[in-house]
Amino acid sequence: MTQPFYSPDDVIKKGEAIYFSRLKDELEPTHSGETVVIEVDSGEYFINKDVLVAVNEARAKFPDKLFYIATIGSISKTSTNFQYAWNLPK
C-alpha cells in the first residue's frame, strides 16, 4: 500500500490536532514530562519516559511512518507552521 506523502507541516498539524482534541486532558494529569509519539493517520500513540523507547515501539508497529513527537505537558499552544519556524521561504 502506498503511504501518503506528508510535509513536516502536515505531520505537525495532524499531530497537534490529535494531541489537543483527544490526548491533552487525558494524559497530562498522569504522564506529564513523558514523551508521546503519535501516528497521525490512525491516531494511535505510544508513551514512555524514554523518547527512544516510545519511538521504537511506534516504529515496530508503523515502520515506514513519520511521527509527531512531543513532551506531554510542555506543549501549551499550537505552533506556527514549520516553514516559519525554520525560516524557510514560503
Binding site: V11, G33, V51, I69, A70, K77, S79, F82
Partner: protein
C-alpha cells in the same frame, strides 16, 4: 574518561553515525547540559553528513520558554567507549548538546569539579554479592 571546561562549560567528544550499515561516522564535541532532558541535539547542517534515520517531527519547549519544532532522528553514538542508539534532535542552529537521557543511558557516574574546571566519568561500583 576525563574532560575539561571551555569558558566554564563542560565539553566531551563523541562519534555519531546513522544506524544503517555503511553510514559515515563523524566526530563532534558536545556540551554537557544537565538542563536538557533529552538525548542529543545536533544542528541540522552538522548532522546531515552522518545519515541519521528520520523518525518524526519533535515539538519541545526550550529553556527560554519558547516552543520549537525540530526533526527527530535515530542514530548510533560512541561516547566514553560505549556504543548505543540515541535519539537526535536537529534544530536549524544552536550548540551541540548532550542531555540527561543520554547521560542516563551511558550508565556512568559523572563527577564535576567546578574549582579545577574538570569532569570525570567513572564506572559505577559493582554491588557486592552477599
Amino acid at each position: 574518561m576525563h574532560g575539561t571546561f571551555q569558558n566554564n562549560l563542560a565539553f566531551i567528544e563523541f562519534k555519531l553515525r546513522g544506524t544503517e550499515s555503511g553510514a559515515l561516522e563523524h566526530t563532534f564535541q558536545g556540551m554537557i547540559d544537565t538542563g536538557f532532558n533529552g538525548y542529543l541535539q545536533v544542528p541540522l547542517m552538522a548532522a546531515l553528513p552522518v545519515g541519521l534515520k528520520l523518525v518524526g517531527l519533535n515539538q519541545s519547549t526550550i529553556a527560554n520558554g519558547s516552543q520549537t519544532t525540530s526533526l527527530g532522528c535515530e542514530g548510533r553514538i560512541t561516547i566514553c567507549g560505549e556504543v548505543f542508539d540515541t535519539f537526535v534532535s536537529l534544530p536549524t542552529d544552536g550548540p551541540i548538546l548532550i542531555g540527561t537521557q543520554l547521560l542516563a543511558k551511558l550508565g556512568k557516574d559523572l563527577h564535576i569539579d567546578f574549582v579545577k574546571g574538570t569532569y570525570t566519568f567513572k564506572d559505577k561500583p559493582k554491588k557486592m554479592q552477599p
